[in-house]
Symmetry: C2
Subunit: 280 residues, 2 copies
């Protein structure tokens, strides 16, 4: 089963487009875990979040930065977190790697062979040959940054670029076009498009009707859930992966953090479902 099939299967089984982002920030771990060594506390926290939210999630998305900052022990923690995720739920490495040649091959091998992820976020700025070593893993998902959710996305992604015919379009649209072409070669591409720009998300969905789109930025980053879902889903109300991290992980700072995370995941799952079932 390739990534897209695994995603759609999990999404239908759980009736959910919600991806739970695992961004375990050391300073925000629950007080009761602070006596543990930080890598152990991270594993324990993530495991309890996973167990509590798995019934409502179509995917989990560990964010590598929060594990890398803990050094080698953090990467061991990442392995343990990956192993704690139920086998039927796809796991996306939020890594945003981007490099060339043998470096790209080794990043892809790290993500897919060493850690065993089902999909990865990749930065396309270095062009096709930087993405190819990832695309070569046909059964894994390669989710390319297109239009990100932060204010600085305007700095370069929105610049108007000229094509050979002298027509202009924003850079992120030119990139979406190319990714659509790459997907024609390998069939395993996806896009990252931030929830904070539903208009851009809608334009990109029109350009790429079949690609899975990972949509971060709902909640703490201010993205409008309903508008994002309606703009991001495909014609069947699927293939949008609505990712929420802090809004679930830190729903409570008390002992009831797993319980509150579960309630929040269920609430978000249901809000997403209401939005995707609404006529446009």
């Amino acid at each position: 089963m390739n990534f897209l099939e695994k995603l759609l299967t999990a999404s239908r089984q759980q009736n959910s487009l919600l991806c739970v982002g695992l961004d375990p920030e050391q300073s925000r771990l629950p007080a009761e875990l602070r006596d543990l060594p930080v890598a152990a506390a991270t594993v324990r926290f993530c495991r309890e979040i996973i167990d509590a939210t798995a019934p409502y999630a179509c995917a989990f998305k560990p964010n590598l930065a929060f594990f890398e900052v803990l050094g080698p022990a953090g990467m061991q923690a990442l392995l343990e977190v990956i192993h704690a995720i139920p086998a039927h739920i796809p796991i996306i490495a939020d890594a945003k790697r981007g490099d060339i040649g043998s470096t790209a091959r080794n990043y892809a091998a790290a993500i897919f062979d060493t850690y065993g992820f089902d999909a990865v976020t990749v930065n396309p700025y270095l062009g096709f040959d930087s993405v190819e070593p990832f695309l070569a893993y046909r059964e894994r998902g390669i989710i390319l940054l297109c239009r990100t959710s932060n204010p600085g996305a305007r700095d370069f992604q929105d610049l108007l670029v000229q094509d050979a015919a002298g027509q202009t379009q924003p850079l992120y649209e030119a990139i979406a076009h190319r990714i659509q072409e790459w997907n024609g070669l390998t069939g395993n591409c996806g896009l990252v498009v931030g929830a904070t720009y539903p208009r851009e998300l809608k334009a990109i969905r029109a350009l790429c009707p079949d690609l899975p789109i990972l949509v971060p930025g709902v909640g703490s980053q201010g993205g409008d859930l309903e508008a994002s879902v309606m703009a991001g889903v495909d014609a069947d109300g699927e293939r949008a992966i609505i990712s929420v991290s802090r809004g679930i992980l830190y729903a409570s700072h008390g002992q009831d953090y797993a319980q509150k995370a579960q309630a929040q995941a269920r609430l978000l799952r249901d809000q997403i479902n209401r939005a995707r079932n609404r006529p446009a």
Copy 2:
């Protein structure tokens, strides 16, 4: 001493613009190290390369992909490799990270606090707020991808973008302009510009006369050493960091690999010096 001062000091002491890239690919390690566990073989290989080439290097550049692929033990190996580098020689993390908000803060903390690098390569595609958490480490160097050395660099980096006045320039030049502005705020920026495009390198040097420029792609990627050095140095023949990895690491596959790496580093150092002392 900040990164640029440390770089210039090392470069003058060693009379060198040569950066030795540490890309220890498992399948290319010397036969005599293959009986060791791979992480231990990686440390041993890198240590011998470091000891042999340090007299001719202005910087070392470990490439994180080759350590990440070895799992948690690879990150332990990376720490040991970092500790093996003489204290006066700056260490550049070739990581090409790029993310936003708390993720970017944690990547920066991983690179600078957890691993102790002097500088890092960063992908600017996500814009200013993605780079700011790195720039906040004022004494470290933030070396931003501008024009890379691979064929796919043409896919997006060369697209013609329009400014507010309707003038066009390649995207990589627009990015170089912005990085020059960011450097005005924090003074710790640098650029990555591939050796395979000396004409573009020369144009970027003209836009950014004072920034250190990391120039990979000489040797195995086909970049012309002399043309790259002449295009990349500043008015004083400095601030270019000419990076060579495979051409040094794998100069020999026999038992004499460290000796051959040393000879190759000395040769490259001398070739670079002849080029930078040549009248333009």
